[in-house]
Each structure stands twice: as structure tokens, then as C-alpha cells.
């Protein structure tokens, strides 16, 4: 797949990488089970710090989009699909809106808990 990062963008480099992996999963160019390039290789190819790529991969792992296998690299999860990506994006939007209102993460978690109960 194609990765592009722009140092002039308002988004952080790690975010840009994460967005492209998510987009790849949604449009199908990254199939479930497919291996992502090793972080060191991608960092060299894009001329960014390896920790930047690792930060992106960790974020994607926390979102459940990819899994990191010890010593074997990062793979697109078999249950990762457009649905999960959409939900992740909605959650990010929710957090962003909550932050504007001055709400903390705990407040948001409590809010979701309350909605789930009702």
C-alpha cells in the first residue's frame, strides 16, 4: 500500500500514518490478516523516526484495527472492518466534542455508561 506523510500538515506524522492504515482497511486495499511493513522499514522509507511509526501502530492496536505479534510485526486484525473503523472515528469525534465542552475522559466514560444503562 501507499503511505504518505507531510511535515507541513497540521496533523501529527503518527496520526497521518494511522489515518492511512484505517483508510486502507475501509477501502479494502489492506485485507484482514495482511502484514504491515515493519516499523523500522516504514520509518526509513518515509524518513521519519521509528517511534513515530510505532506510535501510529500502537494507536491502531488500541483501536483494535491491527495486532502486533511479538517478533513478527503488525498485522491487520481479522475482525477489523469498515464498521469498527467508523465506530473508532465516531469515538474520536465524541472525545473531541467533549474536550471542547471541558469534559474529562472519565466524564465521557460515565456519560457512555449512563446511555448504555438507559
Amino acid at each position: 500500500m501507499l503511505f504518505r506523510v507531510d511535515a507541513a500538515s497540521a496533523l501529527s506524522l503518527a496520526e497521518q500514518i494511522a489515518i492511512q492504515v484505517r483508510a486502507g482497511v475501509v477501502e479494502g486495499s489492506l485485507a484482514p490478516g495482511e502484514r504491515l511493513p515493519p516499523a523500522r522499514d516504514l520509518a526509513t522509507a518515509l524518513q521519519v523516526n521509528m517511534h513515530t511509526v510505532l506510535r501510529a501502530y500502537k494507536q491502531l492496536r488500541d483501536e483494535g484495527v491491527i495486532e502486533m505479534r511479538q517478533g513478527r510485526g503488525a498485522f491487520v486484525r481479522h475482525d477489523a472492518g469498515p464498521g469498527l473503523i467508523r465506530l473508532t472515528e465516531l469515538a474520536e469525534q465524541l472525545l473531541e466534542e467533549a474536550r471542547k465542552l471541558g469534559m474529562s475522559r472519565q466524564d465521557v466514560a460515565r456519560l457512555i455508561g449512563g446511555v448504555a444503562k438507559s
Partner: protein, 335 residues
């Protein structure tokens, strides 16, 4: 293409096919000349360069030689008659046919000639003729170079990916060959079938070289079956996913032209890493791929899905490289 070019093309095809018949003619003529002098058995196997340790009936040796030179000759002639056959495919066929028939003819000439010279099959000495036997496959080069030269560069890829001044791009794809994936298990099976009986008989010491060669080939094929193609500021690189061995690296400044096309294994000499005079290729099967022409005039082809993206990025990066600032972070901000 002019009438004259088409004419010479057809003539060269015929010439290549005729060159493919020469080994058959050599076998036939030599048998005719020697037919009364040949003993009933010919030397057929040498373990070193000394006297023969295996013999074969003259009739059987002749039949084998006629088959080894006759079938390739017929295949070459048939290929020359198929007008729609692509030049690259024709070249591959006559080249391979020449390799086979060259080896067939030289084997016959040595078996019969050395037996005649020594007087009997058992006394035939191979000596330095071993070199002729080993070099006999080179005959394939004769029809190969007589055949018309294929022309691949037809439509050059012109589109460039739009990259920001501080933007960097990297294309990465893994390529897998279904054909090559089957080869390592098959090789292991053959190794087992060949060597386990010998091993059980207690001749282990003599088989280590054979087993080693087979295992080395298995590993070599396994390395080629799963590769990663990347395009970035370093250029185009082909790396084995297993072991991370760089098989090919073409730097940006060495890229003269890029072509996006449908690749056919037949036109590039088969599957895997192919090296031919003036061109090389990593072919994983029939399908979309890239053909790069270097500034040195050499061609390199690789099968990869989404070759358009790879080509556009490669050209964009190369052009930026030419204009200076090869490194996006090295480009000074002009705002």
C-alpha cells in the same frame, strides 16, 4: 514497423529455428558416418574424468540423442511458424530448445566419439572433454541471439503523484508466487525420496553433498516465493520477507523510464528471479507489473499489484530528486 523490418524479422525467426535443427543434423550425420564402426555398447557415464563406469546400448543412446535434439528442433520450427507468437516468447522457446538439444548432441558426440577413439566403451576416457559437456548448454545462446530482439518499451508511464514540498511517500507491497510456494515442499519430497533409501543402506557419507545441494535449492526458492516491493526515496527495492535480503535495488537517479504493463512469465524466462542479457525480472506469475528502464539501457520487470501507484510515486520522487531537495526535511522552506 516497415516492410523491410518485418522481412528481416521473419528471416531471423527462420534462421533461429534452423539453428535449432543443427544439433539434430549433427547427431544424424555423425551416426551415418560412424554407423559401421560403432560397437554395440557406448560409454554413457563417467564419475570423474577417467575411464567410463557406465555403458548403454548404441541403439538406446542414439534414440535418446535423437529425442533430445529432435523434440527441441521440432518445437523451434513450430514456434517459428506461429506468426502471432510474441518475440520474447519465441526467443525463450528457441533458447531453451537450443540448451536441451546442444546438451543432447554433445552427449552423443562424446559417448560415440570417445568410445570409437578408445576402441571399447569401458576404455573411453572423458578427460578435458568434460568441459565441452558442461559448456554444451551454451548452444542455446545461438538461436536465442538469432531470434528477433523483442521490444518492450511501448507506452511509458507519464503520470506523477502530486507530492507536497515537505511530503514523503512510500509504496510497499508483498508479492507471493503460488507456483514458487509449491516448489520447496516438492523439492523436500524429492530429496526424501532420493536420499532416504540411500541413507538406510548406510551410504550416508556420499550423500551429504547431494542433500546439501537439494536443501540449498529449497531455501533459495523459499526466499524467492515471498518478497516485498518498495518504492521510496531510495528508489525501487525488492527484499525477501524471510531474511530481509535485498535482491534488487534501482536508485532513483538510475531510472530512465517506467512502464505499467501486463507481465507474462513466458516473456521473461519463467517464474522467480530471472536474469537475461540486458534485462532481468522478478516474476511471480502472469499479471500487472512494472518495467523499469535504467539510464544504462537495461530493463527490469517486477510483478506487483497496483503498479500505477508505484510508477507515479517513483517518477514523482525521481523528478524531485533531479530538481535538488531529495529529502523533504532538507528542502528549505521558501515561505
Amino acid at each position: 514497423m516497415t516492410e523491410l523490418q518485418r522481412g528481416t524479422g521473419a528471416a531471423r525467426r527462420m534462421l533461429a529455428a534452423v539453428a535449432g535443427v543443427v544439433p539434430l543434423a549433427v547427431v544424424g550425420v555423425s551416426w551415418y558416418l560412424w554407423r559401421d564402426k560403432l560397437p554395440t555398447e557406448l560409454a554413457s557415464h563417467w564419475s570423474g574424468s577417467g575411464e567410463a563406469d557406465g555403458t548403454m546400448e548404441t541403439g538406446a543412446a542414439l534414440t535418446l540423442a535423437l529425442l533430445l535434439t529432435g523434440i527441441p528442433a521440432a518445437a523451434g520450427l513450430a514456434a517459428a511458424c506461429i506468426g502471432s507468437l510474441r518475440p520474447a516468447a519465441f526467443r525463450g522457446i528457441v533458447g531453451f530448445a537450443g540448451v536441451t538439444s546442444g546438451m543432447g548432441a554433445v552427449t552423443w558426440l562424446l559417448s560415440a566419439g570417445l568410445t570409437l577413439q578408445a576402441g571399447s566403451a569401458g576404455k573411453a576416457v572423458l578427460g578435458w572433454w568434460l568441459a565441452a559437456l558442461l559448456a554444451s548448454f551454451l548452444y542455446g545462446a545461438v538461436p536465442y541471439f538469432l531470434a528477433p530482439k523483442p521490444r518492450f518499451a511501448t507506452t511509458h508511464h507519464e503520470a506523477r503523484m502530486l507530492l507536497g514540498a515537505q511530503e514523503s511517500g512510500a509504496f510497499s507491497r508483498t508479492i507471493t508466487s503460488k507456483v514458487l510456494l509449491w516448489v520447496p515442499p516438492a523439492l523436500l519430497l524429492v530429496t526424501g525420496l532420493l536420499f532416504i533409501p540411500v541413507f538406510q543402506e548406510g551410504h550416508a557419507a556420499s550423500t551429504w553433498l547431494g542433500i546439501g545441494t537439494m536443501l540449498a535449492s529449497t531455501i533459495a526458492v523459499a526466499l524467492l516465493a515471498h518478497l516485498q516491493v518498495t518504492v521510496d526515496w531510495r528508489g525501487l527495492r525488492i527484499v525477501s520477507t524471510f531474511g530481509r535480503i535485498t535482491l534488487k535495488h534501482i536508485r532513483l537517479e538510475d531510472v530512465a523510464a517506467v512502464e505499467v504493463t501486463e507481465l507474462r512469465p513466458m516473456e521473461w524466462g519463467g517464474w522467480g528471479y530471472r536474469v537475461m542479457p540486458g534485462r532481468s525480472a522478478v516474476i511471480m506469475g502472469a499479471g500487472p507489473g512494472l518495467i523499469l528502464t535504467t539510464t544504462g539501457g537495461k530493463q527490469f520487470a517486477v510483478t506487483v499489484s497496483d503498479p500505477d501507484t508505484a510508477a507515479s510515486l517513483l517518477l514523482a520522487l525521481r523528478d524531485r530528486n533531479h530538481d535538488g531537495g531529495s529529502h523533504p526535511s532538507a528542502t528549505e522552506q521558501t515561505v
